[in-house]
Amino acid sequence: MFLRRRFLILWILLVGAVIFGLSKGAVEISLINLILKDNQTILNLRLLRVIAGILVGSGLAVSGIALQAVLRNPLAEPYLLGTSSGAGLAAVTAVILGVSRIYLPLAAFLGAVASIIIVYYLAQERGMVTDKSLILSGVIISVALSSLIVFLVSLFGNAAMHEMNWWLWGSLQVYDYKLLILVAFPVVFGIALIYLFAQDLNAISLGEEEAVHLGIDIQNVKKILILVTALITASLICICGIIGFVGLIVPHMMRLLLGANHRVLIPATCLAASIFVILCDLVSRTLFAPIEIPIGVITAMIGAPVFIFLLKRGKKSL
């Protein structure tokens, strides 16, 4: 009962956020006017942003959940395995080499995938991948690649700088709806797959030994889930660059509000993260319109205080 009511609230909030995201923008147009023929383009553009917001929010937050449980580390987030700097470096390099804009998402995707492969390879010890070595090599590769980005930007200046900002702080501006559709497949598939592992994630969050005692093939489950989160993250980077905080904060917020059972947590987090990203996007494009502030800045500025509030409040009620 308690859960059903909270889910209902989340659904209502999502519908509200979607309506809000469609009706507000840099240009003020009333909701009724939006549906008229003349404003179809604006509506379409905003619709793409809202859809992108749902995909990005759900994808990043569910990846965060899976990695936090699998690595048993509350600080785990989707970019932990070097995807962000890998994608950023590939995009910046592509800009410097004068590659056409159309191919930038592909470059970013490949960069993200390449960095995950390197991180995973480095973390292997005698055929086994331990959590500690995975996190460690993720951090090392991230730092190394980030320094390469700064190195390139210092050498090649402005054009690369602008591009880097876009990739490293994210935007929901969707240039191409076909790309959005293309990205939706792996993201939706990935989220569904992670949900199928909900009970495994519950068991693994008790510890690897506990999971083994419940008959879970821990090495394989870990491998599958890490690869799926990597696929989701790399796909999302193509359309929106890197949007921090969503994958870290929203899962924790939902755990504080609804508990840690992944069967509840995963769907609830999809809803909450969609709402969060749609609203952050709205702020990013309306606050100082027509200037658009990168959405990653907004997610961090809103997410941090909300999270601190919940954490303080949660401690009292526990």
């Binding site: 005692h213 419940l214 008959g215 755990r255 508990g259």
Partner: protein
């Protein structure tokens, strides 16, 4: 009496070092076997090897005649369950959610728990006297309550064999007896075979029908409490002077420490 678990010439450990070397042991159906031994003698490692947490380096373990390494992991966990010293849920879960995990070995990936699974869970909660706690969060429980809940989860797997690694380590004597009485009841009435590590020799003596004394990764002596818990055996393995008399209540050996004496 049929053999449930047969361990033959087992060797295993961590990194380069073997903790268990050449150990053989049989567990019979209906046994209440308590494994004792000094720190580092390999008790926990033995349980980890027998529950497939760490790989064997040599030897074989058979469960009712089939090699446990060839059994499917879920099949194995429908027969054998494990209770650790204490669990540390990384994130906050309710008692009911935890005990429901015991049904994992019985479900396929796409399968959700049925009414029958829920009934089994509730039955095990009642059996361990934790039904009233079912909606509480694990971090709100006392150590004794938490241990009973973990046992309920192991029972929800409906195992034939239950391993326990010092289940009473963090409990006061009242709660120790409560847990061990519960296990004794499960052993007698539900015919659950139990293999348990204990540090307290007198608890081992009071509850076990068989005791295995481990030393340096091998079985030093195995048999009834009266056969194993002699002052000669204990002094030799634990390197400490003890006095063994008869417990007038249980009629079993009673180990008394002698402070300040070295053998």
């Amino acid at each position: 009496m049929s053999v449930l678990l047969k361990i033959e010439n087992l060797r295993g450990g961590y990194d380069q070092q073997d903790v268990i070397s050449g150990l053989s042991l049989s567990v019979n159906q209906g046994d209440f076997l308590v494994v004792i031994g000094p720190n580092g003698s390999g008790k926990t490692t033995l349980l980890r090897l027998a529950t497939r947490v760490i790989p064997l380096r040599q030897g074989e373990i058979y469960y009712q005649g089939s090699n446990i390494l060839r059994m499917h992991s879920k099949e194995f966990c429908r027969k054998v369950a494990f209770v650790a010293q204490d669990i540390n849920p990384g994130f906050s879960l309710s008692v009911r959610e935890l005990v429901l995990m015991g049904r994992i070995p019985h479900l396929k990936r796409l399968q959700h728990e049925t009414k029958k699974d829920i009934e089994i869970v509730e039955e095990k909660l009642k059996l361990t006297d934790t039904f009233g706690l079912k909606d509480k969060r694990l971090d709100a429980l006392s150590a004794g309550e938490r241990q009973r809940v973990v046992i309920a989860r192991a029972l929800a797997q409906e195992p034939e064999l239950l391993f326990l690694d010092e289940p009473t380590a963090h409990l006061d004597i009242g709660h120790q007896v409560q847990i061990l009485d519960l296990l004794k009841k499960l052993n007698r009435i539900n015919n659950l075979t139990i293999v348990m590590i204990l540090h307290d020799l007198n608890l081992a003596s009071a509850y076990a029908n068989r005791v295995a004394l481990l030393d340096k990764g091998e079985i030093f002596k195995e048999g009834s409490p009266a056969e194993v818990l002699t002052y000669q055996n204990i002094e030799k393995v634990y390197k400490t002077i003890v006095l063994v008399n008869n417990n007038s209540v249980t009629g079993r050996p009673n180990v008394v420490l002698v402070p300040g004496e070295k053998p």
